[in-house]
């Protein structure tokens, strides 16, 4: 349904991504692909898989940025998928109602049976999070692993998005951002989690945790050494008296 739900149940399921920890390994991206190509949106088609211009449908992609110049800058790996926005233009522009935001948990989905493949939603999404499947002729996107997070056929500890459970660095967290007491909300509060491009007005549910200041563990630079080190290191030189402690083996 193109109109946004007037109220979700208060649940806002989403991801929190810790840019201070992400090493850019692409595990989340590939595991997402692997799960989802056989999942709710199956398949995630790949074009020219062994040819000149291989490209395909991926719900999660890991970019790398540099911020700042020279040594003082940072390299930041930056995974990006659908942010399950609260005011998602991808939903409101959809002429068919194929694109919708769920009331129960705020997940934004595409109904592949009614999507006409007009691509307008992908124009409307500022985050580039919508993925067109050329073979199926429909729009696809991150489902927040709708077929995992409450899947009764999976053990409870596996009811997490694929990208979250696979992330080797634990840089990804999943939970209810509508509940201020949830682990993810607390993490966002503690670490100053933020929205991408707030100026677009989409009010993303997913949050990013900023890289922490790189100098936070530095000691003060110690005083420079005396002009010269005593040349002789022979026994008896004051300089190395510490070595002459009586040691026992």
């Amino acid at each position: 349904m193109t109109s946004l739900p007037t109220a979700t149940d208060g649940r806002k399921l989403g991801l929190v991504i810790d840019l201070d920890i992400c090493v850019g390994c692409h595990a989340c991206a590939v595991n997402c692909k692997e799960w989802n190509t056989g999942g709710h949106s199956a398949p995630l088609t790949d074009e020219e898989p062994y040819g000149a211009d291989p490209h395909g449908v991926w719900f999660n992609r890991v970019h790398s940025f540099e911020a700042g110049d020279g040594d003082s800058g940072r390299t930041v790996h930056f995974p990006r998928s659908c942010l399950h926005c609260e005011e998602p233009a991808c939903v409101t522009v959809c002429p068919t109602g194929a694109s919708y935001k769920r009331e129960g948990d705020g997940i934004v989905l595409v109904n592949a049976d009614t999507c006409i493949g007009c691509k307008l939603c992908s124009w409307a999404c500022p985050y580039g999070a919508r993925e067109y499947d050329y073979a199926d002729g429909v729009m696809k996107k991150c489902t927040l692993c709708i077929d995992r997070i409450e899947n009764q056929h999976l053990p409870p500890e596996d009811r997490l998005p694929a990208c979250v459970s696979t992330c080797p660095a634990s840089a990804r967290h999943f939970g209810d951002l509508g509940d201020p007491n949830s682990d993810v909300s607390q993490l966002v509060a503690e670490r100053g989690g933020y929205d991408l491009m707030p100026e677009m007005g989409m009010q993303p549910v997913n949050k990013y945790l900023p890289p922490r200041a790189s100098t936070r563990h530095d000691l003060e630079t110690p005083a420079p050494p005396p002009e010269t080190i005593p040349a002789s290191t022979d026994t008896g030189s004051d300089f190395l008296n510490w070595v002459d402690r009586m040691l026992t083996r």
């Binding site: 992609r61 700042g68 233009a89 959809c94 691509k119 124009w123 500022p126 067109y132 491009m197």
Partner: protein, 315 residues
């Protein structure tokens, strides 16, 4: 944005068609143009053909054209849906008006109302088309108040030229109308110049810094794209035309679509019948070329916020 030919054709062709209908109704009602069945039918047929071809072509780029009907369902929120509904609804008064102008005196109240409604709905449809673009915040160069007026202005301008070209086949165009069309054409292009100024001077709406939230550290630059080949988003949204080419194309569009079209129209208004017809057709050709380039640029110059994740520094 990737300038998709089907969309360029759709917006320009349907725009001209709707514009011509509006002019037909207005001029007929004002009595400036004698609404003979031949003239009425030709204008309406050509316009409907353009509109219909445009609509059809716009379904070509759909992944599922057979489901196109579904696009009518979300008129409450989606401008694309509204455009579709408006376009379909507009057929009704246009056809009624057509019947009236062909078989009855078009000046009866029913037909007058049908004409007026057709004209209004045509404008609404063009407005909806404009709104589709104007409502996309992710593409700041579209999301400006000038976009809808521009769509309407160009529809009116190209519609006028179209109407004159057709009318000149049947009936010597009064110079006044051609000159009015020239003025309208120039006005549309003035508006376009204003738009270009505006987008050239607009402050960036979003930056690589805001897209990543890393601005506090310093300038943000893409180090590596997620994949080494282009994906859908880059293909669809990543198209950018070099400033240099854009500037040249703008000039060509302006000279051909604005100045040359207007000149041809002025000349058409000055010359006697067969020459006027020829000049009107030349004007139409210029106008078409101009509008196609304009629309191509409209896409090619627009930058999508998603490109900030692929190397753009601001949009």
């Amino acid at each position: 944005m990737n300038p998709a030919y089907s969309v360029i054709f759709f917006t320009t062709a349907s725009g001209a068609g709707y514009g011509a209908i509006v002019w037909l109704v207005v001029l007929a009602l004002l009595g400036i143009v004698p609404l003979t069945p031949a003239l009425g039918a030709s204008v309406i047929i050509v316009s409907l053909a353009l509109i219909t071809a445009g609509l059809l072509s716009s379904t070509f780029h759909l992944g599922h054209p057979e489901r196109a009907w579904r696009a009518l369902s979300q008129w409450r929120s989606s401008w694309l849906s509204r455009e579709g509904v408006a376009a379909l609804v507009t057929y009704v008064p246009i056809l009624i008006f057509a019947v009236g102008s062909l078989f009855f005196s078009a000046y009866g109240p029913v037909w007058i109302w049908a004409g007026l409604i057709a004209a209004m709905l045509s404008l609404v449809t063009v407005g909806c088309t404009g709104m589709i673009y104007a409502s996309l915040r992710a593409i700041p160069r579209w999301s400006t108040p000038l976009v809808v007026p521009l769509y309407i202005a160009f529809a009116m301008s190209t519609g006028a030229v179209l109407l004159i070209a057709i009318a000149s086949l049947f009936w010597p165009t009064p110079g006044l109308i051609a000159w009015c069309a020239a003025v309208i054409t120039l006005a549309a292009w003035m508006l376009k110049i204003a738009y270009w100024r505006q987008i050239d001077n607009a402050k960036p709406v979003a930056t690589a810094e805001s897209a990543t939230g890393l601005g506090a550290i310093g300038t943000v630059r893409l180090l590596e794209s997620p994949h080494s080949s282009e994906n859908y988003v880059m293909r669809e949204m990543g198209y950018t035309i070099a400033r240099k080419h854009a500037a040249r194309l703008r000039k060509i569009a302006l000279v051909v679509g604005g100045v040359a079209t207007a000149l041809a129209l002025v000349i058409a208004g000055l010359l006697p019948a067969p020459f006027a017809t020829a000049a009107s057709i030349v004007a139409l050709i210029f106008a078409a070329m101009g509008i196609l380039i304009e629309r191509w640029l409209f896409f090619a110059e627009a930058r999508h916020a998603a490109s900030l994740y692929y190397g753009a520094s601001e949009v």
